[in-house]
């Protein structure tokens, strides 16, 4: 800050003369305008540098809220004409009412900066660039909803946006229009003759008619059109399933591979089971496994239980019906046969299933 002329800082209207908690005693009064007679001690001009205004704004932002809430403050000052614009970027705590906190910071910054620098600060812009974890919010406890949203109905299947086919069609139309436009502009404005491909195409069109159209071409056109209509009418997104949600404002999907992985994990946890193959579809789930040792019936029942549990835990809107097939691995031995090793021991009926 430069002080032109003699005289210590005077306490102008509304300023905190010492500028106690700001960056040094660098604040001053605004430039006095007007041709009135000025006292000797008040002569001179005080200019507040941009750096000073910035530091004041940053400090004002930090002290607007309880200490520790506001972080990573950086301010920018811009002067337009007679007005000084301040914009501050900061982080606020992630809790209810971010808008209110931001509003408080903004008001405080505007007031303090104008008071300490004496400059006419137009409304400062505050940008919240981060939300820091707030110690007061409990991560464990449930939060009471402000207004319960609509209850989730039956799970709606996610529909694809068909962006790629639409982009292809648009690109095709774009290229056709662009070439035609270029040629027409050349002909009409530059005065050149029509491009050879255009006159050839026109010649072909005016000498041929709908009769004698090649079958292959019409078949291709039909397939293309039918394919486009099919794309438009079907939902798509075949690899994700809709999950049922309690809140109507939330839509959740689970990938098909995720459902398969969860069932795979659950079935592999059954003792004695190996070579698990899982295929989950929208209506059916096929599970194939091989049992290495132990009773086959018991293993089958355990696999069915594990599958039902896993599919239930998926929370899908429509749970696929499982079909479980457990076969015996090549090295499997009937557990009931181990009893028949001795020469005299009879085979117990119903022991094990071969």
């Amino acid at each position: 800050m430069r002080t032109a002329g003699a005289g210590p800082d005077t306490a102008g209207a509304g300023t905190d003369g010492t500028g106690a908690d700001t960056a040094g005693a660098r604040t001053g009064t605004a430039a006095k305008a007007g041709p009135r007679r000025v006292e000797a001690g008040e002569r001179g001009r005080t200019t507040v540098s941009d750096r000073a205004v910035r530091r004041i704004a940053e400090h004002a932002a930090r002290e607007a809220l309880p200490p520790g809430d506001v972080g990573a403050v950086s301010a920018k000052v811009g002067r337009r004409g007679g007005r000084t614009g301040v914009s501050v970027a900061l982080t606020l705590p992630y809790r209810a009412g971010v808008a209110q906190s931001g509003h408080r910071v903004r008001r405080h910054v505007a007031r303090r900066t104008a008071a300490l620098t004496g400059l006419p600060v137009s409304r400062p812009r505050v940008r919240v660039r981060g939300l820091t974890p707030y110690a007061g919010s409990l991560p464990g406890g449930p939060v009471a909803a402000a207004a319960p949203g609509p209850a989730g109905g039956p799970a709606r299947r996610p529909w694809s946006e068909r962006r790629v086919p639409a982009a292809l069609v648009a690109f095709l139309g774009l290229s056709v229009c662009a070439t035609l436009l270029y040629d027409v502009v050349c002909v009409r404005i530059a005065g050149r003759t029509a491009a050879p491909w255009r006159s050839r195409a026109l010649g072909w069109l005016s000498s041929h008619g709908p009769g004698g159209f090649p079958v292959a071409l019409s078949a291709a056109v039909t397939l293309l059109g039918a394919g486009m209509v099919l794309l438009a009418l079907t939902p798509g997104r075949r690899r994700s399933f809709a999950m049922s949600t309690a809140d109507g404002r939330v839509r959740a999907t689970l990938d098909r591979s995720a459902a398969e992985a969860l069932v795979h994990e659950a079935v592999s946890g059954v003792s004695g089971i190996s070579q698990v193959r899982v295929r989950v579809g929208r209506r059916r789930a096929r599970i194939r496994a091989a049992v290495e040792f132990g009773d086959r019936e018991i293993a089958h029942r355990q696999v069915v239980t594990a599958t039902d549990q896993a599919l239930g835990a998926c929370g899908l809107g429509r749970t696929p019906r499982p079909r479980v097939r457990v076969r015996t691995a090549p090295g499997w031995r009937d557990p009931g046969q181990r009893e028949r090793v001795g020469p005299g021991s009879p085979a117990r009926p119903g022991s094990g299933v071969s």
Binding site: A99, R129, R163, L205
Partner: protein, 194 residues
Amino acid sequence: MNRLRSGVNRAVLVCAGLPLTAAGIALGFPEVVGRDQVPSWWPLAASGTVWVDRAALAHWRDHDWWAPAVLAGLAAALLLCLGWCLHQARSGRVSTLPLDRAGLTLDGAALAQAVARQTRTVPGVTQARVRLAGRSRRLRVRLHLVLAPDASPAAVLAHIGTHTLPEARKAIAPRHLDAEVRLRVRRRPRRRVS
């Protein structure tokens, strides 16, 4: 998912696909069946006509307004196709969210990171990627979560619905926030028989 974009794309696909199908069938049927079997009302079956009549085209070209009309029409179609093509590439992400009318803004990435940080504390979630999308009136937060193989998706979803989302809704208080959650599972490498 942007419902407007999806609806417009599908409508245009239908409008472009139906005429193609109809033309293909109308043109191909007489060839396949034989010229004599075609009923009288079948369109595009007359064999004497041509696609473009030179005389009619010359008559149109004589008009003064033909050339400017063609130019304007082609230019409009070009701009429409270009705009529509570029619109497909937009991700719909919200970069800054105005919190009130007087210059207070919130970065969309800031809210997304805060939600992601909270979501990572949910038991069963190994990775979380969050993005904020939509417009000021209908904000959508998109969560892509990767779960552990022994996690329960229903439980994770319930936890998100009761903890994470209400916190986010309270933070941006008067606005509404919808959510789209996509769950994946990290596969465990194959292990031996237990």
